[in-house]
Symmetry: C2
Subunit: 428 residues, 2 copies
């Protein structure tokens, strides 16, 4: 299934440090999402080092791939190996010239910093001058840091948008790139994306694939690009219709939502975390956690959202048996009889957290995250969950989870969030 | 500064779902790290969709970039849009043929699954047959899932290693790719990497840049590729010498370690987390946490390591004032007098956690993570830390941190880990 019919765009990320595996690039995914949202088909994301020949090849590659738009990130700094503007100018056949207005702007921005650090003089002037060089006929975008972004037209295409590498600066400059005349003109020829997203919990990818095959035998899905993406325990299904398949996408969306209703988290792509937060606020509930193997990961995820103090009371990381007893009142005899990893202890952790923090909802998690500590009866990956409320609701699970230590801990956090979602939705 | 003189390698990642920004690719960074470790210069990482033309262009692009080796990930599944093997065969000018041995192997692997799910018959046979098709003259690698990896030689280069997309399968198949005859032969011509890494905490990137400029004025650094990479609060400096610059890299390494000794975490790239774990084990110390704004993130990070139960007692996420008092004994009057975010409360959280869990070391964190809750005296980003030990050591900090809510929480966790490192090293 292909989106077809959509203008193509490419992302070129520069940075030798991204080719050593030391850090993962954040700009490629971010820009892809933006471009898809604007209605482009993203042809590729290409990461190259700070080598002018490789960058020039990357630009030609995008032109050969029939891209109408190329967005680059990085290589706009003041040092000699920051060469993106020059390479893009050469690609577009444009001369570089000093933009006096931009120079004044960068000067003003650097004045305070230069005064504070004592850095300045010839080296600073040179750096400023370098960053204020703009290809003739390009649009210079106001810098978020010191490096201006650029929109560089090229005879016969593609249009090149040049953005700084630091993600915060790139994201800050992006709106002014979109507002520039050449990009606005290009966008008039791009059909809106009209994407649809569904999110499921606990639905295997093979099942959605089977459903899609079965529907595809009855319906024409050729104009809809369908991607399924498993994010740990959640499966996201994205439908991106071509401009002539909007109605077909609506029908497919409705059918997919109905077919796996039990596992459906949301039919508009809203995340579990967002739905849990809304649900807790709507019910006026507070939550407390009693975590063993997840070690605070659930509490941290709940606190991740701004405003979470309205519904998170707190939590205890009760990693040792003594802590389970001393801080959450789990009876030592219960641990001795059933083991620290048991449905009984999960429930006692939930009740203990709820009571100690005076919360409406308590969640207990205890499991064998490995790599050691597994037994035949309770192997690595066996995790017990319990959610209890003051009103008497009890949701319990004790699945056997696959993967390594961090997989098990992350999936456990996912399951706990899903239990919370079920609780706020009033479903068992 | 360039590594020069090293054979080049490229990574081609396939998967339309990676071009929507929905998920970040993990294979590109992982393979880059492996290839750099083997002594290659990574020319580029190119992500393309599941479109045969785009994949074919990507392979030609790598050949044009003078790459001796291309590693692909993805597109080896049983469905019709999984076309990597065929496209690579065409690129190398090789026919596809059925590998009967591989078919039997995949059959055996699927037998149990087919019996359990009832899936089978014609569709399964077709899928198995498709996955057992191998370019003539290629080496088929034993599959980790059901898809075999491939090592495909091409007249005039590059050698293409074809790996499955799921990161766990890719990483499982990689060693057998390295052990294959064509890869082993290629590697005989690759000079070993001999990389050197230094890790600093709290050293601005501009300072290391100034140091490098200053050293570069005295020494010849032209044979050493130096990349600096800021990971939140830690700065990693990687030196990758060309084959003729090993001694120069040793000298540069020694000078960089000496010049910023106070901020040095490690001179062999060992992480803070690893050093903290080793230090706690060596001293026989246990740790307990009392977290407010980080909400369990520090405890979770400590528990992340296998075997952490030997030195993590547990922690309390005391998000509300009541919880600080009830669970960690922070006097309500102290909160009223100094505020919940204050050095005094940070210390009381540390002492409370240490005492309640019977631990040797306690760490308290309380701060304004934002976006709301800031005041003129205590703006968003103001965070108080305290580490106390039973022996009377007290390390306190109250920096003003930059960034958004998640930046502030992550940086706070970094600072707490650095305090732990200082404590186990016996430095204030």
């Amino acid at each position: 299934m292909s989106a077809g019919e959509r203008p193509r765009a490419a992302v070129v990320v520069t940075g030798s440090e991204l080719l050593t595996g030391a850090i993962a690039d954040r700009n490629g995914p971010w820009l892809s999402q933006e471009l898809v949202g604007l209605g482009f088909e993203v042809a590729h994301v290409l990461t190259v080092g700070d080598r002018p020949d490789d960058l020039a090849s990357a630009l030609r590659f995008a032109a050969d791939a029939r891209c109408a738009l190329v967005v680059t990130s990085g290589g706009l700094g003041p040092t000699a190996d920051d060469l993106t503007a020059e390479v893009v100018a050469a690609f577009a056949g444009l001369e570089m010239e000093l933009d006096e207005d931009m120079r004044a702007r960068i000067d003003a921005r650097l004045a305070a910093w230069a005064a504070r650090t004592g850095f300045g003089g010839e080296a600073l002037d040179q750096a400023t001058r370098k960053q204020a060089m703009v290809p003739r006929g390009a649009v210079a975008l106001p810098p978020a840091g010191t490096a201006p972004g650029l929109v560089v037209p090229r005879e016969g295409g593609p249009l090149v948008v040049v953005l700084p590498g630091p993600p915060r600066e790139l994201q800050a400059v992006w709106p002014s790139a979109l507002a520039s005349a050449p990009v606005r003109e290009l966008l008039t020829g791009v059909p809106p994306a009209h994407p649809r997203s569904l999110r499921y919990f606990g639905l295997p990818e093979s099942e959605i694939a089977a459903t899609l095959r079965e529907i595809g035998a009855r319906r024409d899905l050729s104009g809809i690009e369908v991607t399924t993406c498993l994010r740990r325990s959640e499966l996201e299904v994205d439908l991106r219709p071509g401009p002539h398949a909007l109605a077909a996408a609506d029908e497919l969306h409705a059918e997919l939502a109905a077919r796996h209703a039990r596992q459906l988290v949301s039919e508009d792509g809203t995340t579990t975390d967002e739905l849990v937060a809304r649900g807790l606020l709507a019910r006026g509930w507070t939550v407390a956690t009693g975590e063993s193997c997840t070690g605070g990961m659930l509490a941290s995820r709940l606190v991740d959202r701004a405003g979470s103090s309205a519904y998170v009371s707190g939590g205890v990381v009760a990693y040792s048996n003594e802590a389970k007893t001393a801080l959450l009142g789990v009876p030592a005899e219960m641990i001795a009889e059933h083991g620290a990893v048991s449905p009984e202890v999960a429930r006692a952790l939930a009740d203990g957290a709820r009571e100690r923090f005076g919360a409406d909802v308590g969640i207990g998690i205890t499991g064998v995250a490995g790599p050691d500590g597994g037994t035949e009866a309770k192997p690595v990956g066996y995790v017990c969950f319990c959610l209890t409320t003051a009103e008497g609701l009890v949701l319990a699970r004790d699945p056997q989870l696959a993967g390594g230590r961090s997989d098990i801990r992350e999936r456990s956090t996912d399951i706990a969030m899903n239990l919370l979602l079920r609780a706020v939705r009033g479903r068992a």
